[in-house]
C-alpha cells in the first residue's frame, strides 16, 4: 500500500540529478529577471530575499526526509544529500548577493552588520556551520568519519533553527509566513526525540518480523 508507486531503480540516479537541476531553477530565473531589469522595486533585495527563502525551504526539505519515511514509509533518503547541498548553495548565494550586490563589498559595513545586528550574526553563524556539512557530504567523508559523521551532521538542526529565526528577526512584523517556517522547523526538530518511541510502537502494533526483537527490548528490566 505504497502512497506513490516505487521509482524503477535505473531512474534513481537521473532523479537525483533532476532534483539538483530543478532546485537551481528559482535562483537562475530570479538572476535572469534581476539582470535584465525585470524584478520590481528593489531588485537586489528581492533577489537576496528569494535566495534566503529558498535556502530555508531546502533546509526544511532536508530535515523532512526522515519523518516522511517514518510516517509514510516513503524512502527518499537518496535525495537528502542533493537537498542539503542545495540548501548550502542557496545560503552561499544569499550571502554573496548581500556582500556583492547589496553592500557592494563595503567590508566595514558588513563587519559592523555581523557584529552588531543579532539577526545577521545568527545568519552568519548558520553560514559558517553549514560549510563543514557541505565539505563532508561526499561518500569518502561518510566512510572516513563513520559514526562521527552522524554526530557532525546533527548541526543541520541548529542551522535550520537559525535560518527560521534569522528570517523572523529580519522583518518588521512577524507575520504568517515567518510563523509558518518557524512552526515547520519546530515540528521537524520535535520529531527527533519522538521518533524512536514512535517507531517501537509502530513495530509492536504491526507485529511484523521485527516484533520479537522489540518484545525482547520491552522485557528488559527498566
Amino acid at each position: 500500500m505504497a502512497l506513490v508507486p516505487a521509482l524503477p531503480k535505473r531512474l534513481h540516479g537521473p532523479s537525483i540529478w533532476a532534483v539538483y537541476a530543478l532546485g537551481l531553477v528559482p535562483a537562475a530565473l530570479a538572476f535572469y529577471l534581476g539582470a535584465t531589469g525585470q524584478l520590481p522595486g528593489n531588485a537586489v533585495k528581492e533577489f537576496e530575499h528569494l535566495l534566503g527563502l529558498w535556502a530555508l525551504r531546502f533546509l526544511i526539505a532536508t530535515l523532512a526526509i526522515t519523518p516522511i519515511r517514518d510516517l509514510f514509509g516513503l524512502n527518499w533518503l537518496r535525495y537528502r544529500r542533493a537537498l542539503g547541498l542545495l540548501a548550502f548553495y542557496y545560503v552561499l548565494m544569499h550571502f554573496l548577493a548581500y556582500m556583492l550586490l547589496d553592500q557592494m563589498l563595503r567590508l566595514q559595513a558588513i563587519a559592523a552588520d555581523i557584529a552588531r545586528r543579532p539577526f545577521i550574526t545568527i545568519g552568519m553563524t548558520a553560514l559558517v556551520l553549514i560549510i563543514p556539512l557541505a565539505l563532508t557530504s561526499n561518500n569518502w567523508s561518510i566512510r572516513r568519519l563513520g559514526p562521527r559523521w552522524n554526530k557532525l551532521h546533527r548541526l543541520a538542526y541548529v542551522i535550520a533553527a537559525a535560518g527560521a529565526i534569522h528570517f523572523a528577526m529580519a522583518v518588521k512584523v512577524v507575520g504568517p509566513e515567518q510563523m509558518l517556517y518557524l512552526a515547520l522547523v519546530a515540528a521537524l526538530l520535535a520529531w527527533r526525540p519522538i521518533r524512536k518511541p514512535f517507531l517501537r510502537w509502530k513495530r509492536l502494533r504491526s507485529g511484523g518480523p521485527t516484533a520479537p526483537r522489540v518484545l525482547s527490548d520491552a522485557q528488559r528490566p527498566l
Partner: protein
C-alpha cells in the same frame, strides 16, 4: 494665485487625462489581456493642476511605476507589492476629514474642500526607515493652511492623525493575522506640522493619489522616516499631550516619536548610514547612497530641534 480646477472643466489647451485613460481602458478591453495592465493601473487617476515646485531638487525622480508599485501600506498587506495588488476595491471618494480637539472651529472637510486649497507640486526625497528611498513629485498643500482654518487654541501643542478603518475594503484590516492595531495613528509636534515643508498630498506625478499611495489624502514630512507619512487620513486632532503613534507603540525601541532621518542613529536591527535609491543602479550598479541628516532638509528644519538630544529623541 494658482487655483485648482477639476479635470472635467480643464483648460482648452490641455486634453484632460481622464479621457485618454477612458480611451485606453476601452482599448485595453478590446485588446484583451496584454493591455489590461494599462487600464487597471490608471483606473482611478485624474489629472491635478498644481503650481510649480518652489523647492528645487536636483535629483532624478523615481519612475512612477516604482512609486506606485513598491509601497508599505499594511492596511492592504505587508508585502511591497500588496498595496498595489489589493487596493482595487478601496473607495477614496466620497471622503471627509474631521478636524477636532483643541481648535476654535472644529469642522469636517469634504474632498472638494481639500482639493480647493491652492495645490503645489513638491518634489521631495522619501526615506523609508527600512533604508530605501525615492524621489517623489507630490501634489499637495501645506498642512499649516488647513490648521489655520480651524484656529488652534493656545494650549494645542501636538497634532494627531488617524487612517480610515474599512476592513471590507482593506484586506490587511480583516482576517486571522493583522500586523498592527487599527486605526494607524501618527503625530507631529505643532511646530513640525506648521513647517512649510510639511504638506498634505492629494496627488503624485500630476494626478490624484493612487489607492496604494494613500488616497485620497496623506501626510508628507520629508525630513522624517516614511512611516510618519500617514495615509488615507480621516481625522486630525490637535492635542496638548504627545499623541500615541502606531509604530512607536508596536516597538518603542525601534521607532521613536520624532523619527527624524538620522544617519548617525542606527535602527537596532540595521544601519541607517546609507540607503538604496529605488529604481536606480539596476542589478549590478550601486544604488546605495549616503543618507543625509534630516534627509537633506537640515537647513530648513534642524532649528526645530535646537538643543535636543537627537540620539535619545530618535
Amino acid at each position: 494665485m494658482p487655483c485648482y480646477r477639476p479635470p472635467r472643466i480643464a483648460g482648452s489647451e490641455i486634453t484632460p487625462e481622464r479621457f485618454f485613460l477612458d480611451r485606453r481602458t476601452f482599448l485595453a478591453g478590446a485588446a484583451g489581456g496584454l493591455a489590461l495592465g494599462l487600464g487597471m493601473e490608471t483606473a482611478n487617476a485624474a489629472a491635478l493642476k498644481a503650481a510649480p515646485d518652489p523647492y528645487k531638487l536636483d535629483e532624478t525622480r523615481t519612475p512612477e511605476k516604482d512609486v506606485t508599485s513598491y509601497n508599505n501600506f499594511y492596511e492592504f498587506g505587508t508585502g511591497k507589492g500588496d498595496p498595489a495588488a489589493n487596493s482595487g476595491a478601496f473607495k477614496p471618494s466620497p471622503w471627509t476629514v474631521k478636524i477636532d480637539g483643541l481648535v476654535g472651529k472644529p469642522r469636517e472637510f469634504g474632498l472638494e474642500d481639500l482639493l480647493a486649497f491652492p495645490l503645489e507640486e513638491r518634489t521631495y526625497r522619501m526615506r523609508c526607515v527600512e533604508a530605501w528611498s525615492m524621489v517623489i513629485p507630490w501634489v499637495g498643500f501645506p498642512l499649516a493652511a488647513l490648521i489655520d482654518k480651524v484656529e488652534p487654541l493656545g494650549s494645542a501643542r501636538y497634532v494627531a492623525f488617524e487612517t480610515v478603518v474599512r476592513p471590507e475594503e482593506m484586506p490587511g484590516q480583516s482576517g486571522f493575522f493583522q500586523p498592527l492595531p487599527w486605526p494607524y495613528r501618527e503625530g507631529l509636534r505643532l511646530d513640525e506640522a506648521r513647517h512649510p515643508l510639511t504638506i498634505l498630498a492629494v496627488g503624485l506625478y500630476g494626478k490624484t493619489l493612487p489607492n496604494q499611495n494613500g488616497a485620497p489624502i496623506r501626510l508628507v514630512v520629508p525630513w522624517k522616516y516614511g512611516f510618519k507619512g500617514i495615509k488615507s487620513i480621516v481625522r486630525i486632532s490637535l492635542t496638548e499631550t504627545m499623541p500615541p503613534c502606531t509604530w512607536n507603540l508596536a516597538a518603542p525601541d525601534e521607532y521613536g516619536f520624532y523619527a527624524n532621518v538620522n544617519p548617525a542613529v542606527d535602527h537596532p536591527r540595521w544601519s541607517q548610514a546609507t540607503e538604496n535609491r529605488i529604481g536606480e543602479g539596476g542589478f549590478f550598479g550601486s544604488n546605495r547612497r549616503d543618507t543625509l541628516p534630516f534627509n537633506g532638509y537640515a537647513e530648513e528644519v534642524a532649528s526645530l530641534y535646537a538643543g535636543m538630544d537627537l540620539r535619545a529623541n530618535f
